[in-house]
């Protein structure tokens, strides 16, 4: 089980978050927090993306890039020292997620935030991906 986020660079190559942090640790301003709770690093200028899914589970639309991933630019990456993990199938992918991570789901005509640990089968994310279990 792995609670680290899946990160890729602009060329969609996988990045290890520990390597990323070690590479930039000397830039003290970039480390926004490093304490008992965990570490948060600013990466908004580094063209770092997080992988949010593989293909569209409802429409079957092809992924927006050649690597087969839906990606989203991230401003900060973090390592949480006390996070717990949960396993969920979202769309076609089974993921290990931090129990604290927040998802935006469709709730009728509105959008609602729920934590990964509270995701229930049948919920549909804002992005259209369905929660299977």
């Amino acid at each position: 089980m792995n609670d680290k986020p899946i990160l890729v660079n602009a060329r969609r190559e996988r990045i290890d978050i520990d390597d990323l942090i070690e590479r930039h640790r000397s830039d003290s301003h970039r480390i926004l927090a490093d304490d008992e709770v965990g570490l948060v690093m600013y990466v908004g200028d580094l063209d770092i993306y997080t992988v949010t899914g593989f293909g569209h589970p409802e429409t079957g639309d092809p992924p927006p890039d050649a690597s087969g991933c839906w990606v989203q630019k991230v401003n900060e990456v973090s390592i949480v020292r006390f996070g717990s993990s949960v396993r969920r199938q979202i769309g076609s992918v089974v993921k290990s997620l931090s129990a604290d991570s927040v998802f935006v789901i469709r709730d009728g005509d509105a959008l609602r935030k729920v934590r990964a640990i509270d995701l229930k089968p049948g919920m549909v994310l804002r992005t259209g991906e369905k929660v299977y279990w």
Partner: protein, 329 residues
């Protein structure tokens, strides 16, 4: 300097610690609202004038960027949407007449916020401490102050980079959320494990999972037993120390307290006596493959199918290879 309550005093002291002279407090500051009937100022009493208490935090590297902080000490009651609406109006008014200074709003209310506050906070880009989360909405005041200090310190660093996007809703709300959401996990761990795990050097509270991540794959290099506790050195200059019921671990500073003593050493699962040298000969050089904490006893699973059990007054080694009778030590 007079403060309205303890929360305000401590919040201001933190702001001063992080921002120096660029942090100041104003009581009964009078704001004039241009359009008193707009929805954002519906909660104002007797517009167009409004008296507010505000802590302003500025930043040396970005003098035109300031945070307006409102402390809400409501006892057990949560802050209501009206509080978020009011602060949104204050921030909007300050931005309108700022002469170039950009203001962001932050609300601190240890008793938490009702869920109705979230749409106002996100749409008006207000940071809220503690964060609005699915499970726990209120936190001890100390934790809220730690959240505030973490947020302000992080923002101080963040302003060295391009930061105009923080002014776009809900970027600042999300920024504050991202920095404060993990406190819940830390507090839960403290409740569950107490002071069982501590990181050496920094003294930070830690957890079993962090301990295992630290030692997985590392080789046992030395075991010392003293009148204070058990000291085990691992490769990559790491140390594991059991002192009474507390486990200290992390980078090895080489410190060993107390006088050298011989602890009871046992072999095999049933606990037959053995010498310390016998135990060391088996486990030194072996790498950690698993771990288990039984409260009064910590076990390292090692290569060569060995288990090294550590108790404050006893060490034990046994082999888990089957059949047991043919693999006794």
């Amino acid at each position: 300097m007079k403060f309205k309550n303890e929360l305000e005093r401590q919040t201001f002291e933190i702001a001063q610690r992080v921002c120096g002279d660029a942090a100041f407090i104003e009581h009964n500051k009078t704001l004039r609202i241009e359009v008193a009937t707009s929805p954002e100022v519906a909660s104002f009493v007797g517009p167009p004038k409004k008296e507010i208490d505000v802590i302003t935090a500025g930043f040396e590297q970005s003098p035109d960027f300031k945070i307006l902080i409102s402390c809400k000490e409501y006892g057990r009651s949560k802050a209501e949407p009206a509080d978020a609406q009011e602060w949104a109006a204050v921030v909007k008014t300050m931005n309108r007449y700022s002469g170039g200074t950009k203001y962001l709003g932050l609300l601190v209310c240890p008793s938490g916020f009702t869920s109705g506050c979230e749409p106002w906070a996100t749409s008006h880009n207000l940071g809220v401490i503690p964060p609005l989360k699915g499970k726990r909405l209120s936190f001890p005041a100390d934790t809220c102050l730690q959240m505030f200090e973490r947020t302000l310190t992080a923002l101080n660093n963040r302003l060295y980079f391009q930061h105009d996007n923080l002014l776009e809703a809900p970027q600042f709300y999300e920024f504050v959320y991202h920095l404060t959401e993990a406190f819940e996990g830390r507090d839960e761990s403290a409740r569950e494990h107490g002071e069982r795990y501590r990181l050496l050097g920094k003294g930070w509270l830690s957890s079993f999972s962090e301990l295992f991540k630290t030692f997985k794959g590392k080789a046992v290099q030395e075991i010392k037993t003293t009148s204070v506790g058990v000291y085990i050195s691992f490769s990559d200059a790491l140390t594991f120390r059991m002192i009474d019921g507390t486990i200290l671990f992390g980078d090895d500073d080489g410190k060993v307290d107390g006088e050298s003593v011989s602890l009871v050493c046992e072999k095999n699962f049933m606990g037959e006596p053995c010498s310390t040298d016998f135990l060391k000969k088996l486990v030194l050089g072996q790498r950690v493959t698993s771990a288990g904490d039984w409260g009064d006893r910590f076990e390292f699973g090692l290569t060569d199918d060995l288990i090294l059990a550590v108790e404050p007054q006893r060490l034990q080694v046994y082999r888990t290879r089957n059949p047991v009778e043919e693999n006794l030590l």
